[in-house]
Symmetry: C2
Subunit: 142 residues, 2 copies
DNA sequence: TTTTGACTTAGAGTTAACTTTAAGTGGTAG
DNA sequence: CTACCACTTAAAGTTAACTCTAAGTCAAAA
């Protein structure tokens, strides 16, 4: 493993799947702190790509910029903020779980609707059975 | 069951959990077609609330306004568009499944991070074990 | 050496899906 | 009767998270 490589912003952008605009934006917001060479140009390391990777995982859970900034601030204050960071992540975790559950529930309805269309197309469902009626078959538990 | 009730826009809004603004907006976009009384005021029926309920389920899968409008247009053309409607919903279904999967994967990382903080707080994880190292324990498959 | 890429700041533009306002009219419930 | 709710159109405002531009300077790759 090469842990000492340095990337210019353009190359790093490709590496992590962001644009240079976004990288500078994140930097502005305090989420990333690239290094500078003697000419004042940014460079990024493998370490930085790991951090950005983690950031993107957090983003992917629905964590907002505001929350990410809070998180980064806490992180900068060292180990005494671990409990607070954990609390923050727990909040994001709960919300994310709820969103997934809700999304799944909606997807289930969509699945049934598609099945219903299937039935219509293959004439397994009579012409006059409504989707509402059809849905009742899956409602043992409500 | 009372299937003949009529609701004024304000009451209907409460019933379905939207604002009157949003109801008029959806109507404008062609997603809802309320009835009018002799004074030109909108009223909505139980039928309408079922339709809005379904709309909201579709929205909840990540279906966009544009897609919903397409869907409603197809619906208005009758049974000969069932295959097209099914195709549209399938596309939404696939995207929704992918998004859920991605979200779950990100949540898994978040879960591990929280566990890692837990370990730090209870000193089950040594002070110098990095999260990256910790994560490796779960990476049998990558 | 020419083109490509990086640097700066401040600010404008983008996107989706609402959300609200204005400004005036006119039913309706308590 | 009075407060409240509904009606209209057109347009502006909101939010988050980017995304891009301008305008000029400067370094580096082909």
């Amino acid at each position: 493993m090469d842990t000492t490589r340095e990337y210019k912003i353009g190359d790093f952008a490709k590496l992590v799947g962001l644009t240079t605009f976004t990288l500078r934006y994140y930097e502005n917001e305090g989420l990333i702190q690239p290094h500078r060479n003697r000419n004042g140009r940014r460079f990024y390391t493998t370490q930085d790509s790991r951090w950005v990777g983690f950031l993107l995982h957090l983003k992917g859970t629905g964590m907002t910029m505001t929350e990410l900034k809070q998180y980064v601030q806490l992180r900068a204050q060292g180990d005494q903020t671990i409990a607070q960071r954990k609390a923050l992540l727990r909040q994001v975790q709960t919300r994310c779980r709820n969103e997934i559950a809700e999304r799944k529930a909606n997807l289930t309805i969509l699945n049934h609707k598609i099945d219903w269309y299937d039935g219509k197309l293959t004439h397994e469902i009579s012409d006059d059975e409504s989707f509402a009626d059809y849905l009742k078959k899956f409602n043992e538990n409500s």
